[in-house]
Amino acid sequence: MGYCPNTPDDIRDMLAVIGAASVQELFAPIPPELRAKSFDLPPGMSELELMRLMREKAAACGADITPFIGGGIYDHFIPAAVDHLASRAEFYTAYTPYQPECAQGTLQALYEYQSAICRLTGLEASNASLYDGGTAVAEAALMSLRITDRHKVVLDASVNPLHREIVTGYLHGLSAEAVVVAPDGCASDLARLMASIDDETAAVIVQSPNFFGSVQDFRELAQKAHDHEALLVVSCYPIALGLVASPGEMGADIAVGEGQSLGNHVSFGGPYFGFIATRKRFIRNLPGRIAGETIDHQGRRGFVLTLQAREQHIKRHKATSNICSNQSLCALRGLIFCAALGKKGFEDLGLLNYDKAQYAKSVLGAVRGVDLLNPGATFNEFTVALPKDAAEVVQRLLDKGVAAGVPLGQYYPGMERALVVTVTEKRTKEEIDRLAALLEEVLWS
């Protein structure tokens, strides 16, 4: 199947205008010795055959597993309006809004998105989104290096280990250094984090809730960072922000996070979006696109991409980042999700996630031999210690149709018996009770 509409007559007429005898002649600038040595692909197929093939593949994607797993990506409810509105072709088949007069739809949506992110994070300036949560943490690290003109970041090891890998990769080429501070059990070791900040530190990077699910107060950490003219970067989980104090309230200078849980499907790895927000005085150091408000010659309000002098198409190698595409459509989904739930719905959703996880904590904690490892506050995840190797237990529970959690041994040597369990609003009491029963069974029978 092809989508090239020109008929043989069209092609003949066009070649006549060009003054070429054949389409092949147009490829004459390519010397024969550079021609492809191979192009070994199967012939095309019909839509019907394609859908058959794809459905076969989709049959093997773990759809019948009950997930108690997160790792930064969460199985949340998505209101039907999100899929419907984001599927409008005027949004999804448009390009970057470089011609603002015929892209007010995208531009206003991005401005509204930025407004929602500022309100969630308690900060004053947001960009129009980044690739994903992990690259957002890395961009925040780079941003702090630019702002402070320093080359060291203090990185809390309870930040998502997948994200930490991305951060260290990004820093590596720039000869910047990440000082990784081990957690105290399942909580950030605030004392050691504070002791690691000095006058060389660009930023201290923490996560809330952290990879183990713990929620902590970072106000003192922020103060200590600021005493050394370093920044506090908080990677946050947006659903938690319906309930938990915002990074802005905690004294953060930059808030970042994975936006997936705001209306984007888990989709085996993406697309998702990363968000980033900061204090207004750092706006020129933000990476990526920013939509801004302005007026036309008649005084009508409109929106444009602004502060473009930071960006790669103008500043080239001196740009704040190489980011060209953002994740506009994913950000739009995030915005529609926030607006659909609204002030009350968003708070209710946070509470529901909190209550469900607290319930799961109580029933799993009651399973013989299982210990709860976060003594302090947690949001929708928590860590348990099992009497057996957690990877083994998870594998056995997978065979029973439940993804019980993320075993920690592969990320935190020494924590082979620890398991992070995630509970979103989608998990029912029945599913939670079943998880506890299955766990009991696998551990003791």
Partner: protein
């Protein structure tokens, strides 16, 4: 139009959150609790649907308007691939990283592996990784691979990356992100990177040369193999920016020519939608001895035909959380499978035919700085129109009034008053003719009534917007 926040009415609710089926828990400690609810809009579902439906109507898009943006490849987004894109929506990526989890996700792992094989064959590379999340992210990943290669050889003095002045801005920015300094080589009068100046710039401190071919002027550089050879003689590696790959499918494979690393913009070449500025997807391919530096994890095919996820111990680490923008990759995989070998070759042939037709019909009225057979796009200059006070931007805005999305203007930077047109293979002669008539009309108006062009656009919800004011006010969110 009002903002959704301005439509908010205190106490109004939209989507209802389910009731809890578990006991209410003891609240979080006070110091950890948010002081007041997030000030999100309070609107009903119908308000919400009308608001975003009406906003969408303020956009030009491929499905509503011809969108001949050069360098961006705004072709038709086939609908069946959209249907495919959502098939794995509920598949959690963490499943693949759990012990024993890979057997549950054989479907998506197969798609990743097969797409990597398809792209390797199309580009002439040994192996591909789908991890990078956009073209520029692929560039950075590719340069990180190149850095790892030099480092593994103990060749650590290399600190420069060469780019031509016509390159995409992402090339130098990505190389800088990977820690390199940039050397820019100017374009020669024939439209390609000046070979002599390139020779002079090459030395044993150069890590890589980044090129697009066809380049951003739409020209195929016949010296491309020579450039690769010179780079390799000097110990540097060659990077192919695959942004313009749709011009040469089945005709040229960068791997055969001598390129070591390539990224592919799935949203350009393989027709996944641009989404108003993303998500994109930027897999990279590498030649044989660079495979070990690809990022972790890797999807591998076992001897029994099943798929597994493996760490890649010598690789550059992780550049995204999981396997890349999977639902975008799905669409590209479906597109390649649907079109097949002959369909992809037709893509290039028709894209090149359409661009040359556009070029032939417009060159009487618009200056053509590089008058040669072009590939998938052509670059004009509005310098003739400037004599009557009309700039490229005025022509662009007039096109909006006539229902066409403007071409790319003021890029590439080495052409004054650039107007860069890429019709793509999915547009018909009739659509192009209608566009050409308006372009010719704009040229006539430039001579006879330039004011009309200066006033444009007049049919859009807002007229030309004050960008200086936006930058000065820095109003980026509502109070």
């Amino acid at each position: 139009m009002e903002l959704i926040f301005e439509k908010s009415v205190s106490g109004r609710t939209g989507v209802r959150v389910p009731l809890s089926d578990v006991p209410t828990a003891a609240p979080l400690p006070d110091e950890l609790t948010r002081k007041e609810p997030v000030r999100l809009p309070e609107v009903g579902e119908l308000d919400l649907v009308r608001h975003y439906t009406n906003l969408s109507r303020r956009n030009f898009s491929v499905d509503t308007n011809f969108y001949p943006l050069g360098s961006c490849t705004m072709k038709y987004n086939t609908k069946v691939t959209e249907n495919v894109g959502g098939l794995f929506a509920s598949c959690h990526p963490m499943l693949a990283l759990l012990p024993g989890g890979d057997k549950l996700v054989q479907g998506p792992l197969a798609v990743i592996h097969e797409l990597e094989r398809q792209l390797a064959e199309i580009t002439g590379m040994e192996e591909v990784t789908t991890q990078p999340l956009a073209g520029a992210h692929g560039e950075m990943t590719g340069i990180m691979v190149i850095a790892a290669y030099h480092k593994a050889r103990g060749d650590e003095k290399r600190k420069y990356v060469i780019v031509p002045d016509s390159s995409h801005g992402t090339n130098p920015a990505s190389a800088a992100m990977a820690g390199y300094e940039i050397v820019t080589v100017p374009t020669a009068p024939y439209g390609d990177m000046d070979l002599d100046l390139f020779r002079q710039a090459m030395n044993d401190e150069v890590a890589a040369v980044m090129l697009t071919c066809p380049n951003t002027l739409g020209l195929f550089n016949p010296h491309i193999a020579e450039i690769c050879a010179i780079a390799h003689e000097g110990g540097a590696l060659t990077y192919y920016d695959g942004a313009n790959l749709n011009a040469i499918l089945g005709k040229v494979r960068p791997g055969d020519v001598g390129f070591d690393v390539i990224h592919v913009n799935l949203h350009k070449t393989f027709g996944t939608p641009h989404g108003g500025g993303g998500p994109g997807s930027g897999p990279i391919g590498v030649r044989g001895d660079l495979v070990r530096f690809l990022p972790t994890p890797r999807v591998v095919r076992r001897d029994d035909g099943s798929y597994a996820v493996e760490d890649h111990p010598e690789g550059i680490g992780r550049v995204s959380d999981f396997f890349g923008n999977f639902a975008i990759m799905m669409r590209a995989y479906a597109y390649i499978t649907l079109l097949g070998r002959e369909g992809l070759i037709e893509v290039s042939e028709q894209a090149v035919l359409n661009a040359n037709y556009m070029m032939a019909r417009l060159k009487e009225e618009y200056d053509l700085p590089f008058d040669q057979t072009c590939m998938h796009e052509c670059v004009f200059s509005a310098s003739r129109q400037v004599q009557s006070g009309v700039h490229a931007i005025d022509v662009a805005k007039y096109l909006i009034d006539r229902g066409f999305h403007p071409p790319t203007v003021y890029f590439p930077l080495n052409v004054k008053e650039a107007i860069m047109i890429e019709p793509t293979e999915t547009e018909s002669k009739q659509t192009m003719d209608a566009f050409i008539e308006v372009m010719l009309e704009a040229a006539r108006l430039a001579r006879e009534n330039p004011e009309r062009l200066h006033q444009a656009p007049v049919t859009t919800p807002v007229g030309r917007l004050d960008e200086t004011r936006a930058a000065r006010m820095q109003q980026v969110c509502c109070e």
